[in-house]
Amino acid sequence: MTDLSMSQATGQNRTGKIILRWVLYLALGLFALFYLMPLFVMITTSLKSLDEIRTGDLIALPRDVTFDAWRTAWSGACTGIQCEGVRPYFWNSILIAIPAVAISTLLGAMNGYVVAQWRFRGANIIFSLMLFGCFIPFQVVLLPMARTLGIIGIAGTIPGLIFVHVIYGLGFTTLFFRNYYVSIPSELTKAAKVDGAGFFRIFWSIFLPLSLPIIVVTVIWQFTQIWNDFLFGVSFSQAGTQPVTVALNNIVNSTTGVKEYNVDMAAAIIAALPTLFVYVVAGKYFIRGLTAGSVKG
């Protein structure tokens, strides 16, 4: 903690300090408004009727609160020719995210455990190669992946999207667990081996019980990435298997009928709710994943 502003307060410049504090809080408050404004506008717009939106002010509170737009967004808004709202696509995103998060986290844990605790010749090179995979712009794999999914026969399906998310999530999940397990002394593994415990036994009864924090970080990171993904979703899905981000974009950019801004906003909030919820409930772990994922890899 660098407490600079309070430390030199002497009688003479006391008032100056107080004014400075006020300016400081004012600036912080204005920044907070900047970050909150879009969310505020989204929420209020989603609660207005279209008439009120056309005649009223962008930042005005709704005069008559109505949840019609929410109902339409959830189960009636049109994505192209279909008009089922975001509900089926929200469900798709859940069906994609849960297995993809579970599989990539499990594989990442095993991989990290190997790379950190069972070093063999070449393990470091393998880890580096996997790490580089995190950084490629995914555009460079889109074309061959589209063909491969077609050859395997899972193009445009939910299992196809799960597969893609697992493959390209592996680098990060391995990195997270590797960095976590590296700090656990290798004597622990050695002692367990002397006692006759095998590879899986040691993982199961020593490492896994210690792993709760990093599992939480990894699950949150993967869930946020996969839920918010758009590139894979739009490239590898077809009508009916699209994730919620793709459906949202289709609703907003659908050109048929009257532009219903309140429905757009309600749909956007619905699409954002799961990750916002995770952020509010487990913000600490969310930030840890962000910094670990970006600073170190």
Partner: protein
């Protein structure tokens, strides 16, 4: 047999993931690289024809726009997000009582999908009913803020939305950095009567050089990969005024049916990323092994 199995379990566990990465990352990059040297159009062809796709790419005005946009967008986004993030971190570092709540507010956009961010800003910035209409409604009839539909200015709306989304994250990085500076040195400087701003510019900020580098890497990476935000906010338009390499690649691959152009533009994107990331990763991995 069991002995062999026992000894090689770690390798066997790692093998599937490693093979998957070899095929789906490196093999696929090789495929894309190969195809970028062919005459592929709607279908891939595999006879090497040299740099023809790259020549077409750099002769294309649309790619020219996309690359220019990347530099304008990338530069403004990185510089402004870094400055804003640093300012926020320093302000928050002054023993603010509501720090936790403010941090949460500054950072929450990072949890949102770029599609959500784009949708929100598209609504706020639309001239018909958004900020422009609002300010005109207050009586300023001549007020104009039509960047979203103005081909010369539309790229800056993407800068605004991207900064809104990512600057809180830069703040979090810098705040962690400020907190890790040695308190003793700062106290000593205070005892010597060095003014606060000098302590920041001469001691604290220089000691955070690695964090500036990390933030730069992350932000430039985000900038090059920007795709969803453009799609949701402007759709690459008006015309193709806000195309970026990522949207160009996507358009070629999936709506124009021009695989050769898609592959060569993807390769250029990868080279830009690697030019920035590889030296950084290399130095990171080396220092960790020591």
């Amino acid at each position: 047999m069991t002995k062999w199995l026992e000894e090689n379990t770690p390798k066997l566990v790692l093998a599937p993931s490693f093979i998957a990465v070899l095929i789906f990352v490196y093999g696929f990059i090789a495929w894309t690289a190969w195809v970028s040297f062919t005459r592929s159009r709607l279908l891939p062809r595999y006879d090497i024809e040299g740099f023809i796709q790259y020549e077409r790419l750099f002769a294309s005005p649309r790619w020219d726009t996309a690359l220019n946009n990347l530099f304008v967008f990338g530069f403004l986004f990185i510089v402004i997000a870094m400055v804003l993030g640093l300012v926020l971190a320093i302000l928050l570092d002054q023993n603010i009582r509501t720090e936790g709540a403010l941090r949460t507010i500054y950072l929450y956009p990072m949890a949102l999908s770029m599609i959500v961010t784009g949708t929100a800003w598209k609504w706020i910035l639309n001239p018909g009913l958004g900020i422009q209409a609002m300010v005109r409604g207050w009586g300023f009839e001549d007020f104009t803020f039509d960047w979203l539909v103005n081909p010369d200015m539309a790229i800056y709306t993407i800068v605004i939305a991207a900064i809104w989304q990512s600057s809180g994250f830069v703040m979090a990085l810098f705040l962690a950095g400020l907190r890790s500076v040695d308190g003793e040195i700062i106290k000593a400087a205070q005892v010597d009567g060095i003014p606060t701003w000098r302590i920041y510019t001469a001691i604290i900020i220089p000691s955070m050089a690695p964090i500036f580098l990390s933030a730069f890497i992350v932000l430039s990476h985000l900038a090059i990969k920007s795709f969803d935000l453009v799609i949701a906010l402007t759709g690459g338009g008006p015309g193709y005024a806000t195309d970026l390499p990522a949207t160009y690649m996507y358009a070629m691959a999936f709506s124009r049916g021009d695989i050769g152009q898609a592959a060569s533009s993807a390769m250029i994107m990868m080279m830009v990323v690697f030019a920035i990331v590889v030296p950084y990763l290399y130095s990171e991995l080396r220092t960790k092994d020591d």
